[in-house]
């Protein structure tokens, strides 16, 4: 009967613990925010990726950039650089850096100096200098910078003094500042790198990050959580919450459940919007994001190396149904890869008609009169440009069945999915692109340029020299009309070649408890928790629920 005794004592123990008062738990709760995120980050260095999930978890939390975007107009404003100056020919850009900016102090690194020009030199030389000791650490791929051909653009980065730095460019590039303001162009600590280099632990620079951002990394468990603490000496003033936890929950229902059960304060990409808007204690928020969701083809593999097959696909897919079902009418039908809000949008672009007969004819012309079987890779996670790729894949499966094409739907965990895509294992895929800055080039170059096809961020592997020439030319001029024309030409090539079928431009959604205040999302780039705080109203509400639960004990 020993068991019985221990059972009784266990019950007593639990009862005893339940009697503890809730004050400290509440204050811990009030000082922290839990964010239910949709996936694990790849790395903690945004320079190395283009994945939005990684950017969300790292860039604006851990790091700062030289300059940043602000406001509805998307003006460039100073960040780590107090001010900057561009020469008239556009080939020399000088930044005057901010003083007294401190790096994170963590268990693994204690900085002894403030931010200065060496850190800027280190951060960018790592990308452009192939001989740099850190260039090959973590694989040597810098997809965003390779997309925009950063290393050939920059001739030299010159340190003028500790707080002045000058970029010498080989050609004028009207997107240079815009690119430096993206979430990828973060500043790392040169001193930390030096220490790691000395200890032979170079790879740690991307695993245990040190930056100047409002939060510092405390703990990361793959596939489960990321814990950040606030950076007390942050140059813009310490963040309002002490602890920020990313609860990595890749299942859509899981995130919604946690939100409804108050286990997370903010949830990324919520499903079941009506359910959230019904609840008085939750808010659904959205921003008009610059993005496009598309159905792309691996143009190096049969049968999609055949342009006729790609065109047949475009005729066979009923986009309006996809929009109504997958986006529940909350998105705009995409007529080109550029959203209508972009200034370079070509108003004459037309919607491809849905025409099964035409699709069949094209397919027969291409030599597949009896159809074929293909793989369709659908993203496992919600992204702003596509809230439910699996459902979309099912609909496409049904559409293509009508022209005798059998579709097998394939999906992997998000990071694996991206890796395998980059290796070109797929035939066709559902993906999308969220802009990093407002310039239209950010759609044309990273998605479809030849440079991007070499490094795998252009997963169609489509490479067209005419198209490349046009988009390069568009970067060299500041004349808006001329650029607009060039982009219209580029678009015409895309409409003809169809390496991908643009489907929709959607909003980005987020849901949060009403007690969480502060802006987190912008029209492009990752989210930021710097402004977030919990309003004191929560305590009152929480207290009530606690009292309800323990009514028997706290009889007033």
């Amino acid at each position: 009967m020993n068991c019985l005794n221990s059972f009784i004592s266990a019950i007593l123990l639990i009862a005893l613990l339940t009697a503890c008062d809730d004050n400290s738990r509440l204050s811990l709760n009030q000082r922290s925010v839990i964010y239910c995120s949709e996936g694990s980050p790849d790395t903690f260095n945004p320079q190395l990726v283009t994945s939005g999930t990684t950017i969300d978890a790292t860039s604006k939390q851990l790091y700062n950039k030289l300059i940043a975007y602000q406001g509805d107009e998307n003006n460039l404003v100073p960040a780590l650089a107090k001010s900057w100056h561009v020469t008239r020919d556009g080939k020399k850009v000088t930044f005057y850096l901010r003083k007294n900016v401190s790096f994170h102090q963590t268990d693994y690194f204690t900085p002894t100096r403030h931010f200065n020009a060496d850190d800027v030199l280190f951060s960018f030389n790592r990308i452009i200098d192939h001989e740099h000791p850190f260039h090959l650490t973590s694989g040597g791929h810098y997809p965003f910078f390779q997309n925009i051909e950063f290393d050939s653009l920059i001739k030299k980065i010159e340190k003028i003094n500790d707080y002045t730095i000058r970029f010498h460019l080989t050609r004028a590039d009207n997107n240079f500042l815009a690119n430096l303001a993206t979430d990828f162009a973060v500043i790392l600590s040169a001193q930390y790198a030096e220490k790691l280099n000395k200890n032979q632990q170079k790879q740690n620079i991307d695993i245990h990050p040190i930056g100047t951002g409002p939060f510092k990394l405390k703990e990361y468990r793959v596939g489960s959580l990321i814990r950040f603490y606030h950076h007390k000496a942050y140059w813009q003033g310490s963040a309002k919450i002490e602890q920020l936890v990313f609860d990595i929950t890749s299942s859509n229902t899981g995130r919604l459940t946690k939100l409804l059960a108050k286990e997370c304060d903010i949830s990324s990409y919520p499903i079941a919007h009506n359910k959230i808007t019904q609840r008085s204690d939750l808010t659904l928020e959205s921003v008009t994001a610059l993005n496009v969701g598309y159905f792309g083809f691996n143009t190096t593999q049969a049968p999609f190396n055949n342009i006729l097959v790609r065109q047949a696909m475009a005729f066979a897919i009923n986009k309006q149904v996809l929009l109504d079902t997958v986006y529940q009418g909350q998105a705009e039908l995409a007529k080109s890869i550029l959203p209508e809000t972009s200034w370079a949008y070509d108003k004459t672009s037309k919607e491809q008609a849905f025409n099964l007969d035409k699709a069949k004819t094209l397919l027969a012309q291409a030599g597949y009169p009896d159809g074929f079987t293909m793989d369709l890779w659908a993203m496992p996670v919600q992204r702003p440009y596509n809230p439910n790729a699996i459902t979309m894949a099912k609909l496409i499966q049904a559409d293509l069945k009508k022209i005798n094409i059998n579709v097998d739907i394939v999906s992997y965990e998000w990071n694996t999915f991206l890796h395998r895509l980059a290796q070109g294992e797929h035939q066709s895929f559902l993906l999308g692109w969220s802009a990093d800055h407002p310039d239209p080039d950010n759609f044309f170059t990273p998605m479809l340029s030849c440079a991007a096809s070499h490094i795998g961020s252009n997963r169609t592997f489509w490479c067209n020299q005419d198209y490349d020439d046009i988009i390069h030319k568009a970067l060299e001029t500041n004349n808006i009309e001329q650029r607009k024309q060039l982009y219209t030409q580029a678009n015409a090539i895309l409409n003809k070649e169809l390496p991908l079928i643009p489907i929709a431009h959607s909003k980005r959604y987020q849901a949060r408890g009403n007690n969480i205040v502060g802006k987190t999302m912008g029209p492009f780039g990752g989210i930021s928790f710097y402004q977030v705080k919990k309003s004191p109203l929560t305590i009152a509400v929480k207290d009530e629920t606690v009292q309800n639960k323990t009514k028997t004990k706290k009889v007033n």
């Binding site: 059972f7 639990i14 613990l17 339940t18 503890c20 809730d22 400290s24 738990r25 811990l28 709760n29 922290s32 839990i34 405390k218 703990e219 468990r221 793959v222 596939g223 489960s224 959580l225 814990r227 602890q243 936890v245 609860d247 929950t249 299942s251 899981g254 459940t257 946690k258 409804l260 059960a261 108050k262 286990e263 992997y412 965990e413 990071n415 694996t416 629920t545 639960k549």
Partner: protein, 342 residues
């Protein structure tokens, strides 16, 4: 007892050999290069591949390869996960304790509810309460566990808000992973919120543990009912009642003890099925255990993870099996002499 121990030990070694052999042959059964399946090193350069092949001695004969494989396992080298490229032995060491914790709690719940109910049913054999207990228990083992889990979340987490729906503990509490068993880790930690964390962890384990416990509870009800009915029909019980002992005395002094011993034999077997149910339940309650990890790995065709996850899980189940055998033998001297006592 010595012979019994030796017998068990030889069975243990035999089964371990069988399991590792199975796991080793899996690397050939899975698509792709066996060395890559074993090591999980995808995206290796040709030079690295040659080095890998040398490490696993792929050019020697198959038996030698197997011995090398055993050496790798014994030294704790289970390769890298193909999906995440993390070290599998670390992952398993972090995840397995969580599963053990959950399964043990569920097992105790099942025993503490199932066995008394079964005894009650046996004592009131063929009466109304017996029938009610039996019918409820039949529904209990007919419910698909994943559905039950979802209903439990909907009712107790969302509608009533009594228990949290996911995870081991609220992520606000920073508890360092030491043993992997959350309750022990909390007690070991120096967090200022220790007791709140302990309470929170208790609240988190309630729903998944009860959901897992439902099916084993029904099994324990049936087992204890049958064994109690058997015991009550034995001559020593009749002798006791002839002696004039009250019904209460007979039940508590004699019947329960003898009925319990018979049940203990089945605990090991039940634990195995309980771990399987836990695998499914972990998926629903996002419990960071080995079951969820394994199922995700299967869906992703992460062969290295599948191979080693299965090996560790089946070894674990088998070890539990043998341990309960020992406990049974220690409690019941009769069992030691049996030739085939499984």
């Amino acid at each position: 007892m010595l012979i019994f121990t030796l017998r068990r030990l030889s069975l243990f070694v035999f089964t371990m050999l069988l399991l590792t052999m199975l796991s080793f042959s899996l690397s050939f059964l899975f698509p792709g290069d066996a060395v890559i399946n074993l090591s999980g090193a995808i995206n290796v350069t040709p030079a690295q591949l040659i080095e890998l092949k040398a490490r696993y001695h792929t050019d020697s004969n198959i038996i030698w390869q197997y011995i090398i494989y055993l050496k790798h396992i014994i030294s704790g080298d289970l390769g890298l996960s193909m999906a995440s490229q993390s070290v599998i032995s670390h992952e398993i060491m972090n995840l397995l304790p969580a599963t053990i914790e959950l399964s043990l709690v569920a097992l105790f719940i099942a025993m503490f509810i199932g066995i008394p109910l079964g005894f009650i049913a046996a004592i009131r054999h063929n009466k109304l309460s017996d029938n009610i207990i039996l019918s409820v228990s039949m529904i209990g083992y007919s419910i698909p566990v994943f559905w039950l889990g979802l209903l439990a979340i909907l009712i107790f987490s969302i509608n009533l808000g009594w228990f949290p729906s996911a995870g081991q503990i609220s992520l606000l509490f920073e508890i360092e992973l030491v043993t992997g068993i959350q309750f022990i880790d909390i007690l070991l930690s120096d967090s200022p919120y220790k007791w709140q964390a302990f309470r929170d962890a208790t609240a988190h384990i309630v729903l998944p543990a009860f959901v897992i416990a439902i099916a084993p509870t029904t099994i324990f009800i049936r087992l204890s009912r049958t064994s109690m009915i058997e015991v009550l029909q034995t001559s020593y019980i009749r002798a006791a009642s002839a002696k004039g002992l009250s019904f209460k005395q007979i039940i508590f002094r004699h019947a329960i003890r003898n009925a319990l011993i018979k049940i203990i034999r089945h605990v090991g077997l039940q634990f195995a099925s309980l771990v399987t149910i836990a695998m499914v339940t972990e998926v629903i309650f996002s419990w960071p255990g080995i079951g969820r990890w394994l199922i995700v790995s299967i869906a992703q065709r992460d062969y290295t993870a599948i191979q080693n996850g299965l090996l560790v899980l089946s070894c674990f189940i088998f070890v539990v099996h043998i341990l309960t055998d020992f406990i049974y033998a220690a409690l019941n001297p009769l069992a030691r002499d049996k030739k085939y006592g499984t």
